[in-house]
């Protein structure tokens, strides 16, 4: 295929599946593809120690700040149910050598699995239970530490110690409820230093820090709902004041599927704002894979008989020594040409923006066979740099038919069998399903294969620890110190009509209660007060204009003052900069300083014509709107607080229209 043809195919297939960018996508698009998504939110807890040893939590080191290194290999083990987990087998196939960097300050012999766990950190356990209580979930009677296998090496034991604190609950979002599956307390993993070929290096500073994981059902049907749920959970966690904030303290795994697709987990999304784009693209990627399946099923009559053909390109096959092939041979690597029967038009099939199906192969070569990119070229490249015009020769050499596609890949000789197996497996999967996998997120909203999605079969009871009872007394004690009920607060803000962009701020500063009292006790409109506090006051606070020692109770006092003086809320808007500049503001004085002198509607109306004349003298723009705007500006300080500006504007417009 020429590049033009490949590009055309990419565009055609993108159209075929009806891909729309997130900006263009409508509710109908998400309905059409059956967008379904849920979250796993990881939140580090603010404790002094790590979860199962007494190393300090929350101290981080640079890549080279280490005192010793330890090497481990991971090996799959049987679950209680007597089977091996799929991820486990994949990781075993990769044959990674894993190096852990230890810093004496943040790691002890527990981190490298040379000492059994110490009793669980009680501070962490209580924080986790408090958050579970705040989320109104069903709290377990006994906490069982479970081992969750991770064979990527991110935890030196090969498993994460994790325990369920609570199950079942719900997040009351604006327009729907998203159900919670569970909340667990677990130890954080290592941070990766590098992952090249068969060597992966981790540092252990973060390893073992306590975090909670909140998991939702896949109830979110649009990317926006997903982001809203993430915000809600973030707030819920933060409302206790017992969690860590800042870079990496909260991380989301996003589970996405489309109708007919499969659960795919996008791992470690560091910012909620990235979630909508990532989930959007993932749902469409799955939709594209289903389209690929349909095409392949038409091309390949008998999937069982389908067989890829391999042929090694050696030193003597110089007609195929394209630049990258030559380089690979010079590095002493082995180069293989593959014929993929019936795959024409598949390699350049759209999967994600700027990505095609061939990338799925290349990603797996990197991750499973440990062959660094660039690791292959193929007959349907859409990039500027390509060797598409040379592939017809390769096709003949492989005795291909016009329905086929060809790949040339290279790598160390010992990795070739795994590599061929990997490509074969991916094509076979394409014939049947969207593979269950975890994917790594990129800032541009696309993702790449990370590993096979682990199943339930990777859970084992931790034989090194005893179950911990959660008594009713403990729940009662922790329940007494809970922050206000978050679900209620969310519902209130929703009912009052406070804009969602103010919610997080109002909740995190515990200001909803203040707004509630101003509304209920002083008779002001909650929404108006909410906007004033959630936008205007927040902006002043954000700019550092709020005096030290300023209590949010002064906001209540301000509105009480307005009530006494029979003033309307908009005057609070102009008063606020003065109010917040002192911990003990004198509201009357602030009004005086502002030169505030309210007038009656009659007084105001009588001066309108004079003002309009003045405007005509000084202005270049004589449109009536401009005139009204200017007049309103002049009247503002006379009217605000006593009259609704909208009414005044109406009167002014009428007067000026008559003229």
């Amino acid at each position: 295929m020429t590049r033009t043809d490949a590009l055309k195919n990419y565009e055609k297939t993108r159209e075929e599946i009806g891909y729309a960018s997130r900006k263009e996508a409508t509710l109908n698009d998400y309905k059409r593809i059956g967008f379904k998504s849920g979250l796993e939110v990881h939140q580090q807890l603010k404790t002094k120690s790590k979860l199962f040893c007494r190393c300090p939590a929350g101290i981080f080191h640079g890549h080279d700040e280490y005192d010793a290194e330890v090497i481990r290999h991971m090996r799959p083990t049987l679950s209680e149910m007597g089977v091996y987990d799929g991820t486990a087998l994949m990781e075993f196939r990769t044959r990674k050598e894993i190096t852990y960097r230890l810093n004496n300050h943040t790691a002890c012999t527990y981190e490298v699995d040379d000492t059994p766990p110490f009793p669980i950190d009680h501070e962490a356990l209580e924080v986790a239970i408090s958050i579970a209580l705040a989320a109104k979930m069903n709290i377990v009677g006994e906490v069982h530490i479970t081992r969750k296998q991770y064979l990527d090496g991110s935890i030196p034991t090969g498993f994460q110690r994790s325990a369920i604190i609570s199950v079942e609950g719900e997040l009351p979002l604006k327009n729907k409820k998203v159900r919670l599956i569970q909340l667990s307390l677990e130890e954080d993993s290592c941070r990766e230093v590098s992952d090249i070929g068969h060597k992966r290096i981790y540092k252990t500073d973060r390893l073992g820090m306590p975090l909670i994981e909140t998991v939702t059902y896949p109830d979110c049907l649009t990317p926006a709902e997903l982001a809203e749920a993430a915000e809600y959970i973030r707030f819920l966690n933060r409302s206790t004041g017992l969690v860590r904030t800042g870079m990496g303290a909260a991380r989301e795994d996003v589970n996405v599927s489309c109708e007919g697709g499969n659960r795919v987990e996008i791992k470690g999304v560091a910012h909620i704002k990235w979630i909508p784009e990532l989930s959007h693209n993932e749902a469409f990627r799955q939709y594209a894979l289903l389209n690929i399946r349909g095409r392949l099923q038409k091309m390949i009559a008998d999937p069982v008989a389908w067989k890829l053909k391999t042929r090694e390109i050696t030193e003597t096959d110089s007609q195929f020594h394209f630049a990258p092939v030559r380089l690979a041979l010079d590095r002493g690597e082995k180069v293989m040409a593959l014929n993929l029967p019936g795959c024409r038009g598949i390699l350049s099939h759209f999967t994600q923006p700027e990505h095609v199906f061939a990338d799925e192969l290349s990603d797996r070569l990197k991750v499973i066979a440990c062959i660094e990119k660039p690791n292959m070229i193929h007959s349907e490249e859409i990039g500027e740099k390509n060797f598409n015009n040379l592939f017809p020769e390769v096709a003949i050499w492989l005795s291909a038919t016009p329905d086929d596609a060809q790949v040339i890949f290279w790598g160390p000789a010992e990795d070739i069998p795994t590599a061929i197996e990997t490509i074969d497996e991916r094509i076979r999967l394409a014939l049947t399903e969207v593979p269950n996998e975890t994917r790594k997120a990129f800032e541009d909203g696309t993702t790449m294969f990370e590993r096979v999605l682990p199943g339930r079969d990777r859970m084992y009871p931790d034989t090194d620890s005893q179950p911990i009872p959660v008594t009713t007394e403990m729940l009662e004690r922790l329940g007494r110190n809970l922050p206000a009920d978050i679900a209620t607060r969310f519902r209130q803000m929703n009912d009052w009509g406070i804009p969602a962009d103010a919610w997080h701020y109002l909740l995190s500063k515990n200001l909803v209660g203040v707004i509630e009292r101003i509304g209920d006790e002083l008779g002001f409109d909650h929404r108006e007060v909410g906007i004033l506090v959630g936008h205007r006051f927040r902006s002043l606070e954000g700019r550092g204009r709020v005096a030290k020692g300023f209590s949010y109770e002064r906001l209540y006092d301000l509105f009480a003052f307005l009530r006494r003086e029979e003033l309307l809320p908009p005057v609070a808007r102009i008063m606020l900069p003065g109010v917040v500049s002192s911990p003990d503001p004198d509201f009357k004085q602030i009004l005086t300083d502002l030169g505030y002198a309210p007038a009656s509607l009659t007084e105001i109306k009588s001066g309108v014509k004079e003002l309009a004349r003045k405007f005509e003298e000084i202005s270049y723009n004589c449109s009536s709107t401009a005139s009204i705007d200017w007049v309103m500006g002049q009247l503002r300080m006379k009217a605000i607080g006593k009259l609704r500006m909208s009414e005044v504007r109406k009167e002014v417009s009428e007067i000026l229209a008559v003229k």
Partner: protein, 461 residues
């Protein structure tokens, strides 16, 4: 035996399960004052309390339900888990050496037991191959489970059974022997076998694991690969312990059975050769001797099996101001041999002298070893030492205390003649007493020193 539907449950928890007719392995909806829980009821570890019911929820996690919160339980299904290690036929081939794996109860490959939360070993060749497929590249394996005891329950009877079994295997033409063993008393068994099995023509390798094989980072598989490599391919025909060199998954050590000791409660690299260097390193497919003076592999089957042991042997760890009654009580109880683990160069306080004199009079063999672990007993340096020797206490050079215990039991198993015993004790079978301590035989570095820190940063632990 009737099927136990309530495995591990007792008391109140059992009563609740019975009341609602919910069995272990039953899928249950459990309504509680804390909300609804759904899952499969699991067996309960026997030593846990009777106030909770354990279930596995949909996500694979286990949680406990407080029975005082239960409002109602309903069994909605029943599915008994059938867990086993995938057994694959072991691929035997003529061009590989044949190794016999003797099982004592240690875990090499294993699965979990719900009831106790403990680990059940995999042992048949097929099970082992299922768990560690690389073994097929090393050798042909045959297995025999001699007994199933924990390491701490191993003792003289087991040593003698093992020695005889080894003799039988050697006579049968085996190329090497591996003994799977718990690690706690691995070195006691290694010492006893070093004396009971003399001049073997093939390697006899004791192996265990510090992290059970139900975990992905276990040292069990690599230890087993190293051990079978040493047994099947190595040239060193001695009783040796094969365990991790560094804690990293890099290479193993072969330690002489008479000079090895477990030195850390949980490290993988816990076994160390004391007062000397290890005999060899083992990597996949390679045994590299470090000491030139080993007993090489032979074609003949001439081995001397001496399965003797007198159980009336004990060991006493001396501490300051120990009362003489402590020592008297040992004689009163009929012990015929006593290993003292003394302080410093091999000392006890004067208060014990009357008991030492009594032991001498009553024909009880008393030998001196060291708490310092490293170094030699030197009883001529101080007067105390000379006094004690006059009272019949015999210094054992640099023999390790546990080795001395095993050897004295073995010696007294052969003869009551204390002069004969003395001869046996002081004549090394395989370096349990060495003539010299090499300079690199004692290396306990201390952290914090810049050059040590630089070393451990560079060299994998």
């Amino acid at each position: 035996m009737a099927e136990d539907f309530f495995q591990g449950y007792k008391g109140e928890a059992l009563a609740v399960l019975k009341k609602y007719n919910v069995r272990v392995w039953g899928q249950a909806d459990i309504e509680t004052t804390r909300g609804l829980f759904k899952g499969t009821v699991l067996p309960r570890a026997e030593n846990n309390d009777d106030l909770h019911i354990v279930i596995k929820i949909e996500s694979g996690y286990n949680v406990g339900i407080d029975i005082t919160t239960v409002i109602r339980m309903t069994e909605t299904g029943y599915k008994k888990a059938n867990y086993q290690i995938p057994e694959k036929e072991f691929p035997y081939s003529d061009d590989k050496p044949t190794v016999k794996l003797l099982g004592t109860g240690g875990t090499i490959a294993s699965r979990l037991d719900y009831r106790t939360g403990a680990v059940i070993p995999a042992f048949s060749p097929g099970e082992l191959y299922g768990a560690v497929p690389e073994l097929a590249d090393v050798c042909n394996i045959h297995t025999e489970k001699l007994f199933g005891v924990f390491s701490e329950n191993m003792g003289p009877d087991q040593y003698m059974t093992l020695a005889k079994a080894i003799g039988k295997e050697i006579a049968g033409g085996i190329d090497g022997i591996v003994i799977g063993h718990g690690t706690d008393t691995l070195h006691h068994t290694a010492a006893a076998l070093s004396f009971m099995v003399q001049n073997p023509p093939v390697p006899i390798i004791l192996v265990g694991s510090q992290r059970s094989s139900d975990r992905p980072s276990s040292d069990a598989a690599l230890n087993l690969i190293h051990a079978t490599t040493a047994a099947g391919h190595g040239d060193i025909a001695e009783v040796m312990v094969c365990m991790f060199g560094p804690t990293s998954d890099e290479y193993g050590f072969l330690h002489r059975g008479t000079r090895v000791r477990k030195m850390h409660s949980s490290y993988r690299s816990t076994f160390r050769t004391i007062g000397d260097i290890p005999v060899a390193t083992v990597r996949r497919g390679e045994v590299k001797p470090m000491k030139p003076d080993y007993n090489p592999r032979r074609k003949d089957r001439d081995v001397t099996i001496k399965p003797y042991f007198n159980e009336n042997v004990t060991m006493i760890y001396f501490y300051p101001h120990m009362k003489v009654e402590m020592f008297h009580s040992l004689i009163d109880m009929g012990y015929k041999g006593i290993i003292i683990v003394g302080t410093g160069l091999g000392h006890v306080n004067r208060e014990l002298y009357p008991a030492l004199e009594r032991a001498q009079k009553e024909n009880v063999a008393v030998y001196m070893t060291l708490q310092t672990i490293w170094g030699y007993v030197h009883m001529f340096v101080y007067e105390t030492g000379r006094d004690m020797m006059a009272k019949g206490v015999i210094p054992l050079g640099n023999m390790l205390p546990e080795v001395a215990w095993a050897k004295l039991g073995w010696a007294l198993g052969q003869t009551d003649d204390l002069e004969e015993v003395r001869k046996i004790m002081l004549t090394p079978v395989n370096e349990e007493i060495t003539e010299r301590e090499p300079y690199n035989g004692y290396l306990v570095y201390q952290g914090g020193v810049p050059e040590v820190e630089e070393f451990i940063r560079r060299v994998h632990k």
